[in-house]
């Protein structure tokens, strides 16, 4: 039988027993009560009937007293007035009870003064002994409200009542009003289930005693003048008692049923269900015990003092201890040893004292003395009421895992180091530097000072001595940086030959400049590689937010600007990003902003500097030079805007603009029929490649001026690829000429020159200008001229400042002259005037020229 079935069976049994016991108890205890109640019910009924009878009488009494108090009735009684109808006058007009048979007014002498028959045939008043007795009792009344005298007349036909009230004259009873009253006893004593019959009798003590002896209930009525006898219906009241008992038992049974239902429902919830849950729990615990017994994890259960109570076979296998030999001992006393981390031991100890759960890895020692790592989880064991009674320690061997993890951590650390350091020099890389700068930016004082270092001509070392030498140089630099900077400084390698030293927080730009110079001194000291001397130079740019010029995020770019300035100013020096440099940078920045609009609005205009044929003195071409017509800045020269344009990578756009506008001028000159034989445009190597691929680049018309593109000599140094040469050829195929600009300033190789085969070579002005004073220069130019002729390339000399220059160059065999001696670069309008008014004699006065028609 299940718990549930046992429970319901017991509840049912107890319910039945309770109902039976209740019934017995109620029967036993209520019987006297019912008997008393039965008597009480009979008494109540008798009293009720008595009250009903008295109430019935009261209405007659009140009516009689009312009439007796009437003034004319009194007048009749005391003889002031004779009126035999005075009674009937009242009773025949007033509403009266049905039982009134007759009313008679007697005076003080018992004489009938007035009489009225109200029921049946009229009849005279007959003074019987009862009448006389009633009169004599009534006339003694002390006041008119005294209770009426009532007599029961046992007539042969039916009993009736005689009721008498006094007639008072100013405080004295002077007569009696007597009424015969036929009470309808059936109406007064209504049928009920308590009494069988009730009747009225004279108030005779002997009769009363006799009736009471018969078990009848006797009540005094009519102010003790009569007795009301109630004969109880014993069987009916007993039956009512039994019915009451039955009803009570039914109600109690119903109540018990409801109560037991509630009890059963609650009991099911509080006893059966928990019991079931307990059984399930027990089953579950058994399963858990089996699981624990067979678990791979080592499990120990201890008491609150951490003494072992129970352990599973896995523990024995892991530790080498038998449970039987360690039961009652503290695990910490025999499992932990010399190398066990004291911090972990303290943490475990603290958690146990605090009765909190803890997880830890800890080094244990097996019985054999072999150390092993375990992942340990200690959990307090609590009873249902929350009371903690012990601990459970679950552990498993993590020695292998731990070893792997350590290895992995070491690998990660190495990777991390690699990711953050330059493998060659061991210096932190840009990432470390950026992190530090970000940290500074988030700090309370977002300031930093740094030193940017770029080796001068490092490429040469690589090129000339090989990369190993370059690496060696870089290593030396790193060493110098490390040795000369403080430990709190961060010296990082941020590019091939670029380094940055981020000074410690608070360091000023002065300190950085000093550090830079110290480092530069060390760098400049003689070094050697594989016995070969090495000369190393470096440029330094110093910038600091503490100077109040720049925010932290512009620090590197500002240092870069200073470095650039250093390079520009001759390298191998330390340049501080001060206010003047800052102004220049700001100016460039402003220019760059204006330039973006200038490009959109095509504010760049071509200026044309004439090129004069040295032999004929005639105009043989123009070089189109870019000028920026800025609404804000006026006419800006290329040396100002080109560096900015280079930084913005928009030189090509400017070139394209100048080319387009220059060609437009050329067409205008042609239309004007003015001499405009050739026009040259400066282009970059990139522009060459773009033009070569520009399918819209039209061929140079045969009837128009020649068009040439000037390419810097340095371009050939940097970009002598086949691709570039192919591009040049494509352009040349469309009729364009190629000129080498600033020849002599670079290191163009003759071979390269031969491969390109330019149409013109423009000699750098720095070679031209000294020829008046330097024989050597003149000889050099002469050689160049010779070379030009040899390879069939025309020579253009720039920087022709004076007539002497012109004469000498012509003499030396130069083909074309260009310079301020002839004209500065001219805008379109002035160009027109220049050509229109051109006379070679103005520029070669010492020679006779034939003006061309």
């Amino acid at each position: 039988m299940s718990v549930s079935h046992r429970f319901w069976f017991l509840v049912g049994m107890v319910l039945c027993a309770t109902i039976l016991c209740s019934a017995g108890a109620i029967w036993f205890t209520s019987t006297p009560f019912l008997e008393a109640n039965q008597a009480k019910v009979i008494q109540d009924q008798a009293e009720k009937e008595a009250r009903a009878f008295d109430n019935e009488l009261a209405q007659y009494q009140q009516l009689l007293q009312f009439v007796a108090a009437q003034e004319n009735v009194v007048s009749v009684v005391i003889g002031y007035v004779e009126n035999a109808d005075v009674v009937s006058n009242y009773f025949e007009t007033l509403p009266r009870p049905d039982g009134l048979i007759s009313v008679t007014l007697l005076d003080a002498l018992q004489e009938v003064t007035a009489h009225a028959t109200l029921q049946g045939a009229p009849k005279e008043a007959v003074k019987s002994p009862e009448w006389i007795a009633a009169f004599e009792e009534t006339i003694k009344a002390e006041n008119r409200y005294a209770p009426a005298v009532v007599k029961l007349i046992q007539d042969t036909q039916a009993p009736y009542l005689l009721m008498a009230v006094p007639v008072f004259n100013r405080g004295f009873a002077e007569g009696v009003l007597v009424a015969e009253v036929d009470i309808d006893f059936d109406a007064v004593f209504t049928a009920n289930n308590v009494t069988r019959r009730s009747f009225v009798a004279a108030a005779d003590p002997g009769f009363v005693a006799e009736q009471e002896a018969l078990g009848h209930w006797v009540e005094s009525v009519a102010h003790d003048q009569l007795s009301l006898v109630s004969i109880p219906d014993v069987e009916a009241t007993a039956s009512a008692g039994r019915m009451l008992l039955f009803n009570v038992m039914t109600a109690i049974s119903a109540t018990l049923l409801v109560s037991f239902s509630i009890f059963a429902w609650l009991g099911r919830a509080t006893i059966v269900m928990p019991h079931k849950a307990l059984e399930q729990q027990k089953e579950h615990l058994s399963e858990l015990a089996a699981v624990a017994e067979n678990a791979n994890d080592a499990i120990l259960v201890t008491d609150l003092e951490q003494r072992i109570i129970w352990g599973n076979p896995s523990f024995e296998a892991l530790s080498g201890y038998k449970i039987s030999e360690v039961r009652g001992r503290k695990p910490s006393n025999f499992l932990q040893g010399a190398d066990t981390d004291p911090g972990t031991r303290a943490a475990l100890s603290h958690a146990v004292r605090a009765r909190t759960a803890i997880k830890a890895e800890i080094l244990n020692y097996a019985k054999s003395g072999t150390p092993y790592w375990i992942a340990l989880s200690i959990t307090p064991l609590a009873r249902e009421d929350g009371q903690i009674y012990g601990f459970m320690a679950i552990s498993h061997d993590v020695t292998m895992e731990r070893q792997q993890r350590d290895d992995l951590a070491a690998a990660n650390k190495a990777t991390e180091h690699l990711a953050r350091h330059d493998p060659l020099t061991g210096l932190p890389n840009r990432r470390v530097l950026n992190e530090e700068l970000e940290k500074r930016a988030k700090g309370e004082v977002p300031h930093a000072t740094l030193l940017r270092i770029d080796l001068d001509h490092f490429k040469n070392i690589n090129d000339t001595m090989g990369h190993d030498a370059g690496d060696y140089v870089l290593t030396i630099i790193a060493k110098i940086l490390t040795e000369n900077s403080r430990k709190t400084d961060i010296a990082a390698r941020v590019g091939g030959d670029e380094f940055i030293v981020l000074m410690s927080a608070g360091a000023t730009s002065d300190q950085a400049v000093k550090l830079g110079r110290r480092i530069l001194e060390k760098i400049n000291e003689p070094h050697s590689y594989e016995g070969k001397p090495l000369r190393i130079g470096a440029s330094f740019g110093v910038a600091s937010t503490l100077d109040g010029l720049i925010p932290l995020e512009e620090l590197i770019s500002s240092a870069d600007a200073a470095l650039y300035k250093s390079k520009e100013s001759g390298r191998n020096q330390v340049v501080h990003y001060g206010s003047s440099l800052h102004d220049a940078v700001c100016f460039n920045r402003e220019i760059s902003i204006l330039m973006q609009r200038a490009l959109t609005e095509e504010q760049f205009e071509p200026y044309f500097q004439p090129q004069i044929c040295a032999q004929s003195g005639e105009i043989c071409g123009f070089e189109a030079l870019a000028r920026w017509h800025s609404p804000e800045l006026g006419v800006v020269m290329p040396d100002v805007f080109l560096p900015v344009a280079a930084q913005m990578s928009c030189i090509e756009e400017i070139d394209e603009c100048i080319f387009r506008k220059g060609m437009k001028v050329a067409r205008d000159m042609q239309r004007r029929n003015l001499r405009f034989p050739k026009v040259s445009f400066n282009v970059t190597a990139a522009r060459i490649r773009t033009l070569a691929n520009d399918i819209e680049l039209r061929e140079v018309p045969a009837n128009g001026p020649k068009v040439a593109f000037e390419i810097l000599e340095s371009v050939f140094l940097e970009d002598q690829t086949d691709l570039f040469r192919e591009a040049l050829n494509k352009i040349r195929d469309r009729g364009y000429l190629i000129e080498i600009d600033d020849f002599g300033s670079g290191h163009a190789s003759i071979v390269g020159l031969m491969q390109i085969k330019p149409d013109f070579m423009k000699i750098d002005r720095r070679l031209v200008m000294p020829i008046l004073k330097s024989k050597q220069s003149a000889n050099l130019l002469s050689s160049i001229m010779e070379m030009g002729k040899t390879i069939d390339v025309k020579i253009v000399a720039e920087g022709v400042e004076t007539e002497d220059h012109a004469l000498i160059l012509r003499h030396l065999g130069c083909d074309v002259l260009q310079g301020f001696h002839f004209s500065k670069p001219l805008p379109h309008a002035e160009l027109v005037k220049f050509v229109e008014g051109y006379d070679p004699r103005r520029f070669f006065p010492s020679r006779q020229w034939t003006k061309r028609a």
């Binding site: 003034e71 004319n72 009194v74 007048s75 009684v77 005391i78 003889g79 002031y80 007035v81 005076d107 003080a108 002498l109 004489e111 004259n169 100013r170 405080g171 004295f172 002077e174």
Partner: protein, 413 residues
């Protein structure tokens, strides 16, 4: 001469005999024959009147030591409680008695109006010191008249009251407020006749029962107001009279009220405040005892000196009219008994004695000095042609009185 002698005898005896005792406690020498005088009066409701009558009688009898011609006179109280029928019983008791010589009536007229014929037919010697009903002393033609009155006679009282109200007080409209008894109804005739003589009719006439209640009284007063009367004539006993007077005084317009003396049978003044009395300008019919007192009266002083409680003036005696009339009638009775005792009939039975006294009253030889004056032949043999033969007093004996603030009556000129 005889009168003087009698007076002197009476005076001597009065000085020798102690104060009169109450009637039922009067000392009676056992050796002498005793004749009873039954006082048929209302000792319960209108006890003041009954007591005053008895006091007046006792005072008169005490002057002879309750003894006349060797016969002791004893006063016997018979309380009829204003019940006419009980009074009849007393009469029958009287007739059954062998030593009851006379009956003295109380203030109520109804018993004697009702039983007048019985009295006359059965020879009940009746002395009436208060009851005023006119027909009482005027029996059927041809019969004997056994009722002798020394009191106000309503045949005259009505005329006197109307005369006082209309002729003296100048009333324009007179309402009649009458107790609904034979007495009241009898007075109605005389009052209306008196008004008729003046060319007037009653502004209204109101009868009330002997036990008038508050509500009935208020309705009555309202009816009087609506009638437009400025004066009222009131016939009532003391308690009903007090009830009526109190509601009349509540009217917005006060009604001057002239009352018959029926209201003096009880503590009327205690139930009607001086303000109420003044508001109604209440006057009460009296015989002229008060006027006599004012003018100095030796007989009164003598009577008072024998009276119970030794009053010094009439104001000390409640219902003084009863005392005065009782005393005066007592002295006349004593004189009549004395005169009868001289006749042979006095030796006969009680019936003969009563008749001897009756005849002596109708032919009294002695002049009797009373409070209200000297009585010379106060009564005569009765005949319908001499309706006042059994009346000791006449209209000239009537006066009006008013209430002093303290409640006693004072003469109203």
């Amino acid at each position: 001469m005889l009168r003087l002698m009698l007076m002197s005898v009476i005076g001597v005896l009065g000085s020798l005999v102690p104060l009169a005792s109450p009637a039922d406690n009067a000392p009676v020498p056992p050796s002498e024959p005793v004749l009873e005088v039954h006082i048929d009066a209302d000792y319960s409701i209108a006890s003041h009147a009954a007591e005053a009558i008895e006091s007046g009688l006792a005072s008169a009898l005490s002057e002879t030591g309750y003894e006349v011609a060797g016969t002791t006179l004893k006063l016997v109280r018979r309380d009829h409680r204003a019940n006419v029928k009980r009074s009849r019983t007393h009469m029958e008791d009287f007739l059954n008695s062998t030593n009851a010589i006379a009956m003295v009536g109380g203030m109520h007229s109804p018993p004697y109006l009702t039983h007048r014929d019985f009295i006359n037919e059965n020879d009940v010697l009746f002395l009436l010191p208060w009851s005023a009903g006119g027909p009482i002393t005027r029996g059927e033609s041809g019969g004997e008249n056994w009722l002798f009155r020394l009191s106000v006679d309503d045949t005259k009282a009505g005329g006197y009251l109307i005369s006082r109200a209309v002729d003296q007080a100048g009333c324009q409209a007179v309402s009649l407020i009458l107790i609904d008894t034979g007495w009241g109804r009898a007075n109605h005739k005389t009052l209306t006749a008196a008004l008729d003589q003046r060319g007037m009719i009653p502004a209204s006439t109101h009868y009330f029962d002997v036990t008038i209640g508050q509500a009935t009284a208020k309705r009555l007063a309202e009816d009087v107001r609506r009638s437009g009367a400025d004066c009222a004539v009131l016939l009532a006993d003391w308690d009903n009279g007090a009830q009526v007077v109190n509601v009349l005084a509540d009217l917005d317009q006060p009604i001057r009220t002239f009352s018959h003396w029926g209201i003096m049978g009880g503590p009327f003044a205690q139930h009607v405040t001086p303000d109420t009395r003044d508001r109604l300008d209440l006057e009460v019919l009296q015989t002229c005892g008060l006027a006599r007192e004012m003018s100095g009266n030796a007989a009164l002083q003598l009577a008072l000196s024998h009276a119970k409680g030794e009053p010094t003036e009439l104001a000390d005696v409640p219902a003084a009219a009863g005392f005065v009339h009782g005393y005066d009638l007592g002295r006349i009775f004593v004189a009549a008994v004395a005169q009868a005792a001289e006749t042979p009939a006095w030796d006969g039975g009680i019936g003969q004695k009563r008749d001897a006294v009756r005849l002596s009253l109708e032919s009294l030889e002695a002049e009797v000095e009373g409070i209200l004056g000297s009585y010379e032949k106060p009564f005569d043999a009765y005949d319908v042609s001499s309706p006042d033969a059994h009346e000791a007093l006449g209209r000239s004996d009537l006066c009006m009185a008013r209430f002093a603030p303290e409640g006693h009556l004072i003469h109203a000129p």
